[in-house]
């Protein structure tokens, strides 16, 4: 169901590098699971509304009032690379 090319394409969408030897097993395992999942295609669901969430809550908003958040240095302390101002990452262009 999923071939080599499609597996690589999904991996790109998922921001996931796959080593060459990982592509074929991934495609095979995904295909097996998708074959099983495809059984839901047999059900007649034309008039059935989707359920995204079982809890009926809407408009659960807090008051729009400023309040303290975590100090910047605390948040930056967990980063693999940071300076005093923010997170450091490699350039988008090599």
């Amino acid at each position: 169901m999923i071939d080599h090319e499609e597996a690589l394409s999904v991996a790109r969408l998922a921001r996931l590098q796959l080593a060459d030897q990982e592509v074929e097993p991934m495609a095979r395992e995904l295909s097996a699971v998708l074959d099983h999942i495809a059984k839901i295609g047999e059900l007649d669901l034309s008039d059935v509304p989707p359920t995204s969430h079982v809890v009926e809550i809407s408009g659960a908003l807090r008051a729009d009032e400023p309040r303290p958040c975590l100090p910047r240095e605390v948040v930056l302390s967990q980063a693999p690379a940071a300076d005093d101002e923010g997170f450091l990452v490699p350039s988008p262009q090599a």
Partner: protein, 473 residues
């Protein structure tokens, strides 16, 4: 003192019979020894607290040690959700469920091993290595809360906090011969739980008995402004029932027929006869869409996971692959190095199901199946009070037995996933042995029926008289 339930330990501390410091230290030494031993022990823990004097004002759970699944963020305590990608992460805040236990006086004993990001049914998908089942060290404890279940069963912790997305509390509880409860979706705040599938994830207790499950649930359930989907629960009563007169229990053939191994069905059947002796009426009910639950679940949960796990990209916390030349390859290599095989599989599955051209065929349809499953439960609860089934189709399987076949592993959750999709509460209690290994009985009830569910489980527990001593030997 290690034989005491959490409730009894709390009472002994409150009355002055037991020193909270001695209690904590006794468990801490055992947990630390297991951590030290690695796979020569049970490998239940990812982190164990240092010697800590338990002080503070008297509180309902004063001094009672609690083990917490690794995916609960605890301020300044390593919290990796069993993943390499969160190596070194020490959260700057604490999950609400953990904070509530602490404010009731409980003392954090340890973080427990788990399947990475709660994805797994055997606790073999962990950056910390597999957890072993205390009943038989060649077998899995179940998952994903396998460390929590094994620790409680082996007496390395009085009780533990876990999470359940498709069965991750109930199935390991069943395989380890203890009590595990998934509350109604929304009963407990998800704030500070490292997310897997947000519309399904729910925290709950893994305990030695039903009364302890009620006690922990009472302290963790609450609406929380930090989780917009949390509603809390009305007061959770202490379970006291000894009889089941007038209680209608429904047996769904979809959950207790095909695919369930003979020894499990035998123990399940014997438990039903016990329920009848206690006065319960047993009836057949149908959950016609339950056979499709697993398929819907393995679309919805990976889809939500692929979105939730997008945040692990080497920028803000945890691991970053060294030497990447540009931003995109830093992302893709970090995720390649940091995620385990099963997590990658689910991210790929979810990304595929949500991708343009496939969205309606997979995600859209799965959401509609979810509606049908919730309708099935609603219809069944018109005619019975609770639904009973085996918790797991098999007893604990051998280490490595299902790791090569993802689908076989996914089938471990066939009895527990339907309740997760419907958002209803369910509890697993041990109901007997098959070939010397524990069998779990699952009871599910309507949303927010926890107090009654616990009461029924308590009556059955008393009559079944399961002996868990072998796991602590």
């Amino acid at each position: 003192m290690l034989e005491l339930s959490a409730r009894a330990a709390a009472a002994a501390v409150a009355s002055g019979e037991l020193s909270s410091r001695e209690l904590f230290e006794a468990y801490r030494e055992r947990a630390a020894a297991d951590r030290q031993a690695g796979s020569a022990g049970l490998n239940c823990f990812t982190w164990v607290a240092g010697p800590a004097p338990v002080d503070g004002a008297p509180a309902p759970l004063h001094g009672v040690p609690v083990a917490v699944k690794d995916l609960f963020c605890v301020q300044d305590v390593p919290s990796q959700a069993g993943s390499r990608i969160l190596e070194g992460y020490r959260p700057p805040y604490t999950a609400t469920a953990v904070a509530r236990l602490r404010s009731a006086g409980a003392a954090l004993l340890a973080k427990t091993n788990q399947d990475e990001f709660a994805m797994g049914s055997s606790n073999e998908n962990s950056a910390f290595g597999a957890v072993l089942n205390p009943w038989d060290r060649t077998r899995v404890p179940g998952g994903s809360s396998g460390g929590s279940a094994a620790a409680v069963a082996a007496g390395l912790a009085p009780w533990a906090l876990g999470t359940d997305t498709g069965g991750s509390i109930r199935q390991p509880a069943a395989l380890c011969g203890i009590v595990g409860m998934k509350p109604t979706y929304g009963a407990v705040s998800r704030y500070g739980m490292i997310a897997f599938a947000s519309s399904l994830d729910q925290a709950g207790p893994l305990t030695r008995d039903v009364a302890d499950a009620a006690l922990m649930l009472r302290h963790i359930a609450a609406a929380d402004p930090c989780d917009a989907t949390s509603l809390g629960l009305a007061e959770v009563a202490d379970p006291t029932a000894e009889r089941l007169d007038g209680v209608r229990l429904g047996v769904a053939e979809e959950l207790s027929g095909e695919g369930i191994e003979a020894g499990v069905l035998e123990a399940f059947g014997a438990a039903l006869r016990t329920a009848e002796e206690l006065g319960a009426q047993i009836a057949s009910v149908r959950l016609p869409h339950a056979p499709h639950a697993l398929s819907a679940y393995y679309v919805l949960a990976p889809a939500e996971a692929s979105s939730n796990l997008a945040r692990f990209d080497g920028v803000r916390y945890g691991l970053r692959a060294e030497g990447a030349e540009d931003l995109l390859s830093m992302y893709t290599r970090t995720r390649h190095d940091g995620f385990g095989a099963e997590v990658k599989r689910r991210i790929m599955l979810g990304t595929y199901a949500l991708s343009s051209g496939y969205y309606e065929a997979f995600y859209g349809r799965a959401q509609r199946v979810r509606t049908k499953i919730a309708d099935d439960f609603a219809a069944a609860f018109e005619v019975v009070d609770f639904i009973v089934s085996p918790t797991s189709p098999t007893v604990a399987f051998e280490l490595g037995e299902r790791t090569a076949d993802p689908l076989a592993m996914y089938l471990s959750d066939s009895c527990t996933v339907p309740m997760s999709l419907a958002g209803v509460p369910a509890i697993s209690i041990p109901c007997g042995l098959s070939a010397g290994l524990p069998v779990g009985l699952q009871l599910a009830g309507p949303a927010f029926s926890e107090s009654r569910l616990l009461d029924v489980a308590h009556a059955l527990e008393g009559a079944l008289g399961f002996d868990s001593g072998a796991a602590r030997a």
